[in-house]
């Protein structure tokens, strides 16, 4: 009787703990920033070996979605700045700060051009051209789209006021 109870207890705990295992793994996915991508660019659209070391690996990148492809978002651009805010805040970026994102299936998100999304997928760096989407420097394939959590909230004393001298 006790043995049976133990078996059920262990099985129950496994059921509770198992879903948490992949979640713990997903936290280990390296996050690349647009600053890292820009720093990696060398002459003639070359990229550093350091950034190439992420090729074929799953990475996370955060940015604004530019729906450049079909409306099912099977292909879109991920940009450091929002493409659709005409008057705020920075000039549009080019090839160096744009990631070409390919998803396996239709993406179902509440699209907001002014919201940052997190893209997780297999990274590729290096100039490549394809017939459908033209040349690209950075790509993420088999991507999934997640809502990005906001940036850390700073206390006023932790963060200098805009324009103030350090």
């Amino acid at each position: 009787m006790i043995r049976e109870f133990r078996t059920w207890l262990v099985a129950g705990l496994l059921v509770i703990v198992m879903p948490a295992v992949p979640l713990a793994g997903s936290e280990e996915i390296p996050r690349l920033t647009f600053a890292q991508l820009v720093d990696s660019i060398r002459a003639d659209s070359g990229v550093t070996e350091n950034i190439k070391s992420y090729n074929g690996k799953e990475v996370a990148i955060q940015g604004f979605i530019v729906p450049a492809g079909p409306p099912d978002l099977s292909f879109f651009l991920l940009s450091r700045v929002s493409a659709l805010g005409n008057y705020c805040c920075e000039a549009p970026v080019g090839q160096d700060e744009t990631v070409y994102v390919f998803t396996v299936k239709e993406v179902n998100i509440t699209y907001d051009p002014l919201r940052i999304f997190k893209i997780v997928g297999v990274f590729e760096a290096g100039m490549r051209a394809d017939a459908t989407n033209g040349p690209s420097l950075f790509r993420v394939r088999n991507a999934r789209v997640e809502e990005a959590l906001g940036a850390k909230i700073f206390k006023t004393e932790e963060f200098p006021a805009p324009g103030s001298k350090p």
Binding site: P71, D72, L77, A83, P92, G94, T98, T132
Partner: protein, 395 residues
């Protein structure tokens, strides 16, 4: 006799009540199936009909109106821009292909779309292909010598009955400038099936105001950039310019999908209420049937039927009703979607009412399960029927 045969005999015994219950289940299920099919179909129609071009440039105004009028022909045209905007974009080093579009007027509701041969050209990046069912494409004629040749979309040709060589116009003022049908396109399953295409010089020639203009008017320019990463800068530059706006058509459609999602949430709530009402109806129907049959059940028990058998018979009745209603509902839902397609077809949206969703077997299983659950309490009542109490003399 098996439990199922007895249950079916009972259902046949009260045919009218059983049929009404099954029909009410079928109506509820068909409402759910039709709603899901149509909501999905409208979205698919928008996705399938979306342009292969990445940017639509037009006059300042509503981005949604620009995309709906130029891509889906579902709204009035936005104000004109100058033809020079197209020339400038053609020479922009970031632009691979620019296609001018002028829309306005219609023949029997089928919109006139003036453009040039680039609109129909095959590019490696294009999903959509244009092929002729008959005749030829219209000529890229010079502005001084418009040919007034028309190319009909498949649906426009079918509905109007126009054939190669036919001349047509709509409105008295157009009688001097009739169009001649030179070609008919194969179906593209997009809004282009409902369009009548001809050249820009023909469009300007037909329009009294445009005839006198030194710089000719356009409604929009479709843009394909050389590099996708140039889209944001093109978009920004054209929007900051005082006379034009640039729109990412997929961005507009995603905003429409966001609005549709809100409507879908409301619809889901309504469907959940409908489902609850249907379940309640099944429960009431089975409950009253069980109460009416207490004497019969007691007789069965007296003749040796076990309590579990009685329970099984009532549950089998509920399940059979739910199965019949569920199947009827799925067929009915597709039929409603088929009827609605003809209505949506006139707005340029395409849906496929025959598309069988993989979730439909799950819907049927769910309906049977819920129907059985609705019959659970009446079944328990039948299970607990006391023989002595219910076989007592009636008078």
């Amino acid at each position: 006799m098996t439990i199922l045969t007895v249950a079916l005999k009972y259902l046949r015994g009260r045919l009218v009540a059983s049929t009404l219950t099954a029909v009410s289940i079928a109506l509820g299920v068909s409402l759910v199936v039709a709603s899901v099919l149509l909501a999905g179909g409208i979205k698919e129609g928008f996705i399938a009909g979306a342009t292969d071009y990445n940017l639509v440039v037009g006059a300042k105004g509503s981005p949604t109106q620009l995309v709906l009028s130029v891509v889906f022909r579902m709204d009035l045209a936005t104000p004109n821009i100058e033809y020079t905007a197209y020339r400038d974009l053609q020479q922009d080093p970031r632009v691979e292909t620019a296609v001018p579009i002028a829309v306005g007027d219609a023949y029997r509701g089928f919109r006139y779309v003036a453009t040039n041969s680039a609109y129909f050209a095959a590019f490696p990046w294009r999903r959509k292909t244009f092929a002729l069912a008959a005749g030829k494409f219209f000529a890229d004629d010079p502005p001084s010598d418009p040919t007034y040749e028309a190319l009909l979309g498949a649906e426009a040709a079918r509905s109007t009955g126009l054939q190669i060589g036919d001349r047509f116009y709509e409105g008295e003022e157009m009688a001097e400038y009739p169009l001649t049908v030179v070609g008919i396109l194969r179906p593209t399953h997009s809004a282009d099936d409902r369009a009548i295409f001809f050249s820009l010089p023909s469009y300007w020639g037909m329009n009294e105001v445009a005839r006198g203009m030194a710089v000719k008017p356009l409604t929009a320019v479709l843009i394909r950039p050389k590099r996708m990463s140039d889209l944001p800068s093109l978009h920004r530059a054209l929007n900051v310019a005082p006379e034009t706006q640039a729109v990412l058509p997929s961005g507009v459609l995603l905003t429409i999908f966001n609005m549709m999602a809100v409507a879908e949430d409301v619809l889901k709530m309504i469907l959940a209420i409908v489902g609850a009402i249907v379940l309640l109806y099944v429960f009431v129907s089975m409950y009253s049937a069980t109460m009416e049959r207490r004497r019969e059940i007691a007789t069965m028990r007296a003749l040796g039927a076990r309590r579990a058998t009685v329970l099984g018979i009532v549950l089998a009745e509920s399940a059979a009703l739910a199965a019949a209603g569920g199947l009827g509902g799925i067929v009915g839902g597709h039929a409603v979607a088929y009827l609605a397609r003809s209505l949506l077809g006139s707005s340029g949206l395409v849906t496929n009412p025959f598309l069988f969703d993989v979730l439909e077997p799950a819907v049927l299983a769910g309906v049977i399960l819920l129907g059985t659950v609705a019959g659970l309490l009446p079944a328990v009542l039948a299970y607990r029927t006391e023989v002595a109490e219910n076989l007592a003399p009636l008078s």
